[in-house]
Structures are given as structure tokens and as C-alpha cells.
Amino acid sequence: MSTQVPHAEQGIFQKYFWSTDHKIIAMQYLFTGMAMGLIGGYLAYVFRMQLAFPGHSVPGFGIVTPGEYNTVVTMHGSIMIFWVAMPVLIAAFGNFLIPLMIGCDDMAFPRINRLSYQIFLLSAVVLVASFLVKGGAFGGAWTSYPPLSASGAYNLTPLGASLWLVAVALEFVAFLLGGVNFIVTAMNSRAPGMTMYDIPMVVWMIVLASIMFMASVGPLIAGAVMLLFDQTLKTGFYDPARGGDPLLWQHLFWFFGHPEVYVVLLPAIGIVAELLTVFARKKLFGYKTILYTTWATVIISFLVWAHHQFVAGIDPRMANIFSVTTLLVSVPITEMVFLYIATLYGGSIRFHTPMLWAVAFVAEFMIGGVTGIFLGASGTDIYLHDTYFVIAHFHYTFVPIAIFSVFGGLTYWYPKMFGRMLNDTLGKVHFWGTAIPFNLIFIPLFITGAAGDQRRTYNYALFAEQSRPVLQHLRMFATFGLLVMLLFQLVFLFNFFWSLRHGRRAEANPWMANTLEWTVPSPPPHGNFAKLPTVYRGPYEYGVPGRIDDYWPQDVPN
């Protein structure tokens, strides 16, 4: 493998828009994801304001009609999962970290990598464009159940529905290409000496997530093509009047949809593993155990999908099987969380901003995990299914995943990405301004959910039980939390862009970490390593007895 790619001067377009360099592609994914995140946040603002003040004109949007509300919640869900969590967690961190952490110069297939981003960008453009077509963007929920999604006469957004499907399918193609790259690179391009157990946890997690994605997405792509045919060619795959079956889509969707949750979870817990060890100055507690429990999670998560469908009209006997597997998946995840907590034991914990995010991730994710038990237990799910309890539950998993771990990872790797340090004080202001309001949003929603608030409802005026003033006050309180949380994101944006120019210059290894990305200058040059490193030990050798330094980089000979 060549050490240094001959480095000709490139034009701006060539360098930033047509690059095959994994770091540039990572930045492209990161900034696209952040831009989509702003759209997703704005949509959340719109529907929370509508729920808090139904019938009033929302500043910056106008009156929210029932159809617009459906569109807004559908797009919020789709964007946050497919166009924010996926590109940032898997593609941005995966692209940036995998070659640097395993000690190679670039991805195994750089041009496929470039293609992957371009297809992803196209999918984002198609999705955003769908807001502008006649009828507006799709409004049939991110789960897109037929027959509602299959016929324009039912969903009243015929063009939006097709564009949504096309965008999602393109996005899947992009991540399949990216995933192939991650797996091949991590398996074949590791630095000499790096065994399977010397791979940093975050790389393992991204690779496992890519494997899961590849294994689960196939049926859904087939299903999406059938749905597109139903929409445009008037076939009847999901139309019971013509021998089709609407339940078929639900199975295909959730066979992908549930592993998808773990696809975004795994990179997040990988990032948190890096943060916990570096800032606690501790070896990861039970590296191999974590790896095996992750494998167990991966396998079991393919067997739980129908817990989304307990009351969907499937054979009620099936619910028993899926209830058991669902509670079974709690076992490896609990073990993982215990191991993370145990990692803190005996450490010397430095509470810089990234560490705050990491600890908050563990603390909040546990709430998301335990509330999942209520929904996995088929008996209580009868009542809680499709209520705000579900919404609060999965936001307690997704927000730690897609917000907390991402901010943790960004504040941690920012010096390596941009060569400057972020301001730690602003980082802490942003942390508390995000973590506290987050709880203010979703704790009230657990209560409204337990009181029976159903999802995707733009106004509860027609429901006597749901329009009790106490519930309306809780909804207003949640909206208040959201507004505070959104406003504090300005602190982050300021810190991010201000530090790009004015932050303190970062040395190669500002956090005194062990992994290989910290052995190269910040930011790393084209080709990453001046001389490809050799690895002598695992990534988490902190506080090894008998050494003066409390860390021991992977590439330092004994």
C-alpha cells in the first residue's frame, strides 16, 4: 500500500465537491446532515407549537392545517432518522474515523465512496424538493403504511408520496455503497499488528451497523419498489381488493425498521466507548464482552420486528414469540450499559464537554431502554401502542443516539477534523442547555401518553378525555422545553463556526488518547500517515502500571 498519494494542487471544486478523500467526504456528510438537522428541528418547532397552541398561527409557518401537520410530522421523522442520524453517525464518523483509526491512507474504494455521497445528496435534494410539488410532501407517517401510502386518493399527496419513496430508496443505495466500503476497509486495510481485538470499539460498531443495514434493507427495497408500482402503475401488491396484503408492507418495513434502530445505536455507543475511556483514563471494562454482546444484539434484533405490530391484526399468538425476543434483546443491551458504568470505576474522570455528553448518553439512554419494556410486554402495549408514551420512549433512545453521542463525538474529534479546539465553556453551556430541556420535553410526554394521547394528532379538541386542561398544560410545557433546547443550539453553531477561525490551534494529540488518529497532525494531511503505523497493543491501555504516562498509544513500540 502506498504511503503518500502524489498530491497535485486541486481546484476548489475538485477538492471540496469531487474529492475521493475520506475526510472531505466525511465533512460533506456531516454538513449535509447538519443542514437536514436544521430542517428537522424547524419541523419539530412547527408541530410542537401547533400542539401547544392549536388553531393559532405558528410564527414562521402560519396556520397548520390537518394535512400540513401530517406532512410535518412525517418529514420530521424521516429526516431525523434517514437524513440526520444515518449520515452523521455512520457516514460522517465512519468515513472520518475508520481509515484514521485503523492506520491506512483512505477507504478501500474511494470512488465508490464519492458516489455514495453523491447519491445521498441526490436523495436529500429529492426529499426537500418534495415539499414544493403539488399537494406538498408526503403525509402518511414515516412508516408509510399502505393502502394509505399506495393511493393518492387516500393520502392526498400523490407526488409527495412517490418522491418520498424514491428519496428513501436512493438513500438506502448510498448507505449500501458506504457500508460495503466500511466493512471492506476495516477488514482488509488495518495497520500491521492490529488484530481483531485491537480495533477501536467505534470502528467495530460502525462495521457491525453496516452489516446489519445490509442484511435488513434488502426486503424493504423490494417492498419499496412494489409500493412505488402500486402508486404509479396501479398494481395491487398491497391492495386487498386485488389479492394483495397491506400487512406485507408492515412486515417488510419493520424487518428493516427495527434493526435500523440498532444501526444508528451501535455507532453511537461506539463513540461513547471512546469518550468514556479517554476521559476516565480507563481501559474499557470487558472489551471482548462488549463485542460479543453487540453481536448478540445484532442477531436478536432481527427477530423482534413484529413487536411494532402486536395490535396490527397479526395472529395474536405471534405476539407471544415477539414479546419474548423483545425482552431478550434487553439482556445484551443491559449488559453493555453495565459495562460502560463499570468502566468509570477506578478512573480519573475529566469532565470536559465530550465526557459530559458521554455520561449523559448513558444516563438518558437507560431511561429510553427501560421504558421500552412497557412496550415490549404485549399486555401493556395494547394500551400504550401509538400513544405519546411510544414517542417519549423512542426519543429517549434516539436523542441520546443522534444528538448526545453526535455532539460528544464532534466536540471530541473537532480538533482532529479542523485543527482547532472548540471553546469548552460554550460547549458546557450548550450541553446543559440541551440536556436539561430535553428532559423537560419528553417527561411530560410520558404522562400524556399514559393518559392516552394518540400520536399524529394535530388537535385534541374532539377528544374529551384528551382535551383536559392538565394535559394541554403538559403539552405546552413540552413545547417550552423544545424552544429552549432549539435556542441553545445557536450556542453550538456559534461555537462551531467561531472556533473554525478563532479556536486555539490543536496539537496532534490534545486529549492524550491512544488511538491512531491522534498520531497524525490536526487536521490530517492528504494520505493521513507520513509513514504507515504499526500497532503494538489494544486501543484502551490507560493507566498501565509501571509507566510514567497514563496513556500508551497503539503505535508506540514496547
Binding site: 398561527s57 453551556v429 456559534f494
Partner: protein, 224 residues
């Protein structure tokens, strides 16, 4: 060491943090307020967005969805029908599939003023005329129309005092559907729907579906 990381420029970010806090809480206060009262015309136009998915932006309707052409329909009639839907006088019959789709939309309008505002906006839309879509004999229908002209007027312009809407220029498929609904009692079944209860026996004078199509074809020739 790691502890030194935070040192560099402290003043600017701190001041920024303070301002952010101030602005954020100020913004919160504002966000609860309505940004100025909107006049009825603007509100009517904005609320009409609710109707657009079925009735189209120009109000010309969609036969596929069973949504009638409402462009330019008189305010008093639109308002009356919206109120009937809201009160459960229309759209609550077991077989009235289109009515059951319309009723929730009428219920989504928050207040009576909003109903009026939307109705006003609907009247302000320029009327659209569609070509006939049903086979029918206007000459045979002309004789049948005598019954109708008593209330709806010889040229189908309608009469507010009698509660009779304009029917000239309304799409033939919609008129036929409504006449059939009147005949079956799907429309006008509710004892509080006085206008429809007047209309029902008139519709029943049309002996069969040919008669319905013929009279509808004749109405299609009227220019109110």
C-alpha cells in the same frame, strides 16, 4: 495538561452566552403571543389550505375524490353547509362516504368566525365551468326541471330566501350524486336538516337514474 484546554479567549464567548440566554428567554415570551391579529380575508385564505388537498387550490374540485367544484359558491350556502357538517347534520349517515370525509374537515375550523372567513374566501374564487361528463338528454330534462325552477330559479341561479343554492354551473357528476343521495335518504335524513327535507321529496319525483341524468344534463345548459 488537559485542564489547560479551556483557557484561551474567555470574554467574547461568555458575553455571547449571556446574550443567548437573554434573547432565548425573550424569544420564549414572544413565542406564546400571537403575532398581531390577522384580518378575516387573510385568515380565510390561510384556512382554505385545509380544503386544498381535495377541492384544489382554485376550488374547482376533484371528481376522483368526490370533491365538488366550489369555486365562487355563495358565501351563505358554504357557511350553512359547513355548519351542518360541524353540527353532525350532514356527514353522519352510514352510507355517506364522501360526507364522512368532509365532516372532520369542517370540524377542523376552530371558530364560527373562521367558518365565515373560509366561506367568504370560497365565494371570492372565480367560478370554473367544467364540460359535462355524464350522458343525458337535456331536452327530456327540461320538462323535469320545471319542478326545480320553483326554488332554484329558471336559470339555476338559486334563491337564498328559500335556501336554494345556485346549481347552474355545478359539475353534473356532483349534482347526480347528490340527487341520488337525496333519493336514498343518505342526504336529508337528519330531522334538523330542513332544507334537505324540503329537497328530498323533490328528488323522489325523478323516477329513475335516466331522469336524474337528463335533468342534470339540462342544468348543464343553464347560464345563471
Amino acid at each position: 495538561m488537559l485542564a489547560n484546554l479551556t483557557v484561551v479567549p474567555k470574554v467574547a464567548p461568555r458575553r455571547f452566552a449571556l446574550w443567548t440566554l437573554l434573547i432565548s428567554f425573550g424569544g420564549l415570551g414572544l413565542s406564546g403571543c400571537r403575532l398581531g391579529p390577522t384580518d378575516a380575508a387573510t385568515r380565510g385564505k390561510e384556512l382554505f389550505e385545509t380544503c386544498v388537498p381535495c377541492h384544489q387550490p382554485d376550488g374547482s374540485g376533484s371528481p376522483v375524490l368526490g370533491a365538488p367544484n366550489i369555486a365562487g359558491m355563495k358565501e351563505w350556502y358554504v357557511e350553512k353547509q359547513l355548519e351542518k357538517f360541524r353540527d353532525g347534520i350532514r356527514g353522519t349517515h352510514f352510507s355517506d362516504v364522501e360526507g364522512m370525509r368532509m365532516r372532520p374537515m369542517a370540524l377542523s375550523l376552530p371558530t364560527d368566525e373562521d367558518v365565515k372567513a373560509v366561506a367568504h374566501y370560497v365565494e371570492s374564487l372565480p367560478p370554473v365551468r367544467h364540460a359535462s361528463s355524464l350522458p343525458g338528454d337535456p331536452r327530456a330534462g327540461a320538462a323535469l326541471y320545471a319542478t326545480c325552477s320553483a326554488c332554484h330559479g329558471p336559470n339555476g341561479a338559486g334563491n337564498q330566501d328559500l335556501g336554494a343554492p345556485r346549481i347552474g354551473g355545478i359539475d353534473d357528476w356532483y349534482l347526480a350524486t347528490q340527487l341520488r343521495k337525496f333519493k336514498r335518504g343518505v342526504r336529508g335524513a337528519d330531522s334538523r336538516d330542513f332544507d334537505a327535507r324540503l329537497m328530498r321529496p323533490m328528488a323522489l319525483t325523478l323516477a329513475d337514474d335516466d331522469a336524474v341524468r337528463n335533468v342534470v344534463a339540462y342544468i348543464g345548459t343553464l347560464r345563471p
